[in-house]
């Protein structure tokens, strides 16, 4: 598909779906091998390939209205996400900054706790879900606002 100079819209969607499946398989494989670097590198390469493939599409995928919907949804998502991200980050930063002041007993001194990787994973999952659901929600809202589901009388 990629060796052609141009691509149709439906071919691009099919290609993107195949790429998503490959990434899902690689994700599973990297979980099995316990090597996060594999899926991280594959994800970046996969997204780059999709962006490059998108440039070869000849039909219209995105015009100014859909670009505006994407833009508005992205800005609103950022506005919501940074608040959630900062709130969670403040909690984690507070943990690393915890220093007991003037302990009366020696037993009161405890070593600083480092967030275990599994907990960090859950935290990232929550943030990722927050970002995705917020974006999808705003996208639906702005798509509706700018007439995506208007009924045509033609």
């Amino acid at each position: 598909m990629l060796y052609k100079d141009t691509m149709k819209k439906n071919t691009f969607y099919l290609f993107t779906g195949c790429m998503a499946l490959v990434l899902l398989a690689l994700f599973w494989y990297s979980v099995e091998l316990h090597t996060p670097l594999l899926i991280e590198v594959a994800f970046i390469i996969g997204i780059l390939i999709v962006y490059l493939a998108r440039r070869t599409v000849t039909d219209i995928i995105e015009d100014e209205r859909s670009a505006k919907i994407t833009e508005e949804a992205a800005v609103r998502t950022f506005q919501v996400f940074w608040v959630g991200f900062c709130a969670l980050s403040i909690g984690v930063v507070m943990e690393i900054l915890y220093i007991p002041s003037f302990p009366r007993e020696r037993s009161a001194i405890r070593p600083p706790e480092i967030l275990p990787p599994r907990m960090l994973g859950y935290l990232q999952l929550v943030l990722l879900c927050l970002m995705i659901f917020t974006y999808v929600g705003f996208r639906i809202y702005y798509a509706r606002k700018y007439g995506d589901w208007e009924i045509d009388e033609e």
């Binding site: 219209i60 015009d63 100014e64 209205r65 859909s66 505006k68 606002k145 700018y146 007439g147 995506d148 208007e150 045509d152 033609e154």
Partner: protein, 72 residues
């Protein structure tokens, strides 16, 4: 922003799809503009009016009721 795209389309016997292809947007965008759900950019407004061989003011009319800004 009001517009007479539908009227001009009827005069030129054009479908939404024809106009969309001629101006490089999707049919849904033409529909959204006609319904007043989306205000086109200046670039697209000029493209549409040029396609009908008229001035942009003949196709699009600015309506004061949309938004009023107090200068003072």
């Amino acid at each position: 922003m009001k517009n007479k795209i539908k009227v001009f389309r009827a005069m030129h016997d054009l479908t939404q799809e024809d106009l969309a292809q001629a101006t490089g947007v999707t049919r849904q965008t033409i529909l959204a503009i006609e319904k007043g759900k989306y205000v086109p950019s200046l670039d697209l407004a000029f493209k549409i009016s040029r396609h009908f061989n008229v001035n942009v003011e003949e196709v699009f009319q600015y309506s004061d009721s949309v938004r009023t800004v107090d200068v003072d």
